[in-house]
């Protein structure tokens, strides 16, 4: 068998890698959307499909891991995950990509629940195993979008998936030793125990808060790239504020009170941050930082508190870990399924409003009437060329008139027009952020009920 330390690192990497996959493609979605010539609603299924299959497969996968042995299950799971990742990277159409994502989620669900069963033997304590497992998952999920954004811009969206294969295989190598040991000793069947009921309220709260957090991340990325025209790397840098704040939250968390208080405080912070994103007073990146700080600290508090509550003292770990994975990913999928139609309807309506208000600005401006018509044509071409993305209208105003008076009027018009487009883009995200904030607040209900039930 492998020495505990390398094996621990491999197990942590495996969990981080799989759970990063629920969010790693977020920053690549705009590129996938354009390259595979699909719709916003269609491309969200690249995200939804993975989370939905993870939600459905996590508990059965945990049972499978216990039946065939966690070492063997983890090795098979990681191999499937790696193979499906290659298929994702080679997919030339949306249907193939979504199908490969489903297979990837199946392999991931088996690997991640099996790892939870392997960890206590590796670290020597069930509580420590839970902490490491939860931390590895949270780190992967938090770093996923930034890594995905950097890879998308520097290489391609396909590289996000292709790069996962060697990492998954490398993480699987130390697990093979455990699998071989299981095959030699046949220890598995004897350890099957009755599983006990999952912690319903903690898992329900996990699902609700995960829906709110997924919405926050997904909507913020779309706002930054599609609305405010940031590059994937630019957006990756901006959304890194959230995991950095989560690290801060993870540090203050354990000292700040019991699990119930941390869960409630975290849900309040996540909702407050989402409320701030719903009320952005200007299209400025800096204004997203305070809300991200609240969401980041909040998610670290609430996710760790609820996962701990759902797992500690419950056996077997893989099954209850499976329930938490299932709850979190069901929440993410449900959040995206509920919010995507709201969001796409809003963005379509707001795009019309943006175009109308932009045209009104042009018509009411004081620039030369013939120049107005020419500008209208150029702006129309830019709007048509961007396929739903809010354009930068600057190039439509080039070349600027030579006459100083005309030039200054055209510059005023350009700024007013861009302001209208920015307003429309930002405003279109407000209802969805507001709805996500409400979801976060609703998570307080199961948290409060859990207190009443168990005190």
């Amino acid at each position: 068998m492998t020495a505990p330390r390398p094996r621990l690192a491999a197990l942590a990497v495996a969990v981080g890698l799989v759970l990063a996959d629920s969010s790693i493609v977020v920053l690549a979605l705009p590129d996938i959307y354009r390259e595979l010539d699909t719709s916003v609603a269609g491309v969200t299924w690249v995200l939804i499909s993975f989370n939905l299959v993870m939600a459905l497969a996590a508990v059965p996968a945990a049972h499978l891991a216990r039946r065939i042995g966690p070492g063997r299950a983890a090795a098979i799971g990681l191999a499937v995950f790696a193979g499906a990742g290659v298929a994702c990277g080679l997919a030339a159409e949306l249907g193939t990509l979504i199908a490969a994502r489903c297979v990837q989620a199946l392999g991931g669900a088996v690997a991640v629940t099996a790892v939870l069963e392997l960890l206590p033997a590796t670290v020597g304590s069930e509580r420590r195993a839970v902490t490491i497992w939860a931390a590895a998952g949270a780190t992967g999920a938090a770093l996923g979008p930034a890594v995905g954004g950097v890879l998308t811009e520097l290489v391609s969206w396909q590289s996000i998936f292709l790069i996962q294969a060697p990492i998954a295989i490398a993480a699987g190598v130390p697990v093979l030793a455990v699998a071989r040991h299981e095959a030699e000793t046949g220890i598995v069947a004897a350890e099957l125990r009755s599983t006990g009921r999952p912690h319903l309220l903690a898992n329900l709260a996990l699902a609700m808060i995960s829906a709110a957090i997924a919405a926050a991340l997904f909507l913020l990325v779309l706002l930054l790239i599609e609305g405010w025209r940031l590059t994937p790397i630019g957006a990756a840098i901006v959304v890194t504020a959230m995991p950095l704040a989560a690290l801060l939250g993870a540090r203050i968390g354990p000292a700040a009170g019991g699990a119930r208080a941390r869960a409630a405080a975290g849900a309040i912070l996540v909702s407050g941050g989402l409320g701030g994103l719903a009320l952005l007073p200007k299209a400025e990146v800096a204004l997203t930082l305070p809300p991200q700080l609240l969401v980041g600290v909040g998610l670290a508090l609430v996710l760790s508190a609820l996962t701990e509550t759902a797992l500690v003292g419950r056996a077997p770990q893989a099954i209850h870990g499976g329930w938490t994975i299932s709850a979190r990913h069901a929440g993410v999928a449900a959040g995206l399924i509920v919010l995507t139609p709201v969001f796409t309807a809003d963005i379509a309506e707001q795009r019309r409003d943006a175009i109308d208000s932009g045209t009104a600005v042009v018509l009411d401006s004081r620039v030369d009437p013939l120049l107005k018509l020419e500008l209208s044509q150029r702006i129309d071409e830019r709007l048509e060329g961007e396929r739903g993305r809010v354009p930068t209208v600057g190039p439509a105003f080039e070349p600027l008139p030579e006459d100083p008076e005309d030039r200054s009027e055209v510059l005023v018009l350009r700024d007013e027009l861009q302001d209208q487009l920015d307003r429309a883009a930002t405003h279109s995200f407000s209802p969805s952020f507001g709805l996500a904030a409400l979801l976060g607040l609703l998570a307080l209900v199961p948290i409060a009920l859990a207190r009443r039930v168990e005190l």
Binding site: G258, G273, L294, A354, L363, D380, E454
Partner: protein
């Protein structure tokens, strides 16, 4: 859930979280977060105030905007939608397809828009009554296909509007003096 550790610290954490969340939301509200939205376009059927037309060129521009309002009102679309529709032959085709409006209907609407523009110009004091009536008569006599031609080429629409006022230029300039 698990037994509560440090009840006082927990309450403090919840209060601090609520205070931070409320502060952020109130600060963004105070900074105009609830009103950061694009301007809403006006109903083209409502009268629109003429902007201090000081020269013939500006009168022509206001006239064309009023004509757009009138035609848009007739067709049940916004002035902005119609303006974009008239920008290029392709956009006009998209417009007629999307709204199910044929050329004859568009021609009639443009004629109604021109009548509205004459009314607005007269009401704004930019067009003397003794010129308004002959202009109305001229518009009435524009054949629908000519109105469609105006619609086919947005640039010619404005040129023609200006040309439309040109014969009266001497009279208008005398009036302004």
């Amino acid at each position: 859930m698990n037994a509560e550790r440090g009840g006082g610290a927990g309450k403090l954490l919840i209060l601090a979280s609520a205070a931070a969340s409320l502060t952020l939301v109130l600060a963004y509200l105070a900074a105009g977060g609830s009103s950061y939205s694009p301007v809403t376009v006006k109903d083209p059927c409502e009268p629109r105030e003429w902007r201090d037309p000081g020269s013939l060129e500006e009168i022509a521009e206001q006239f064309s905007l009023s004509a757009l309002d009138g035609a848009a009102c007739e067709l049940g679309v916004t002035r902005e939608t119609l303006a974009r529709a008239l920008a290029t032959p392709q956009s006009r085709e998209r417009f007629t397809r999307r709204y199910g409006i044929d050329d004859a209907e568009l021609g009639r609407a443009i004629r109604a828009g021109l009548m509205r523009a004459i009314d607005d110009a007269e009401a704004a004091g930019a067009l003397p009554p003794f010129l308004a009536e002959p202009l109305r008569e001229t518009v009435r006599q524009i054949p629908p296909e000519q109105a469609i031609e105006l619609a086919r080429n947005a640039r010619s629409l404005l040129d023609d509007l200006q040309g439309f006022l040109d014969p009266a230029q001497d009279l208008l300039e005398r009036f302004f003096r």
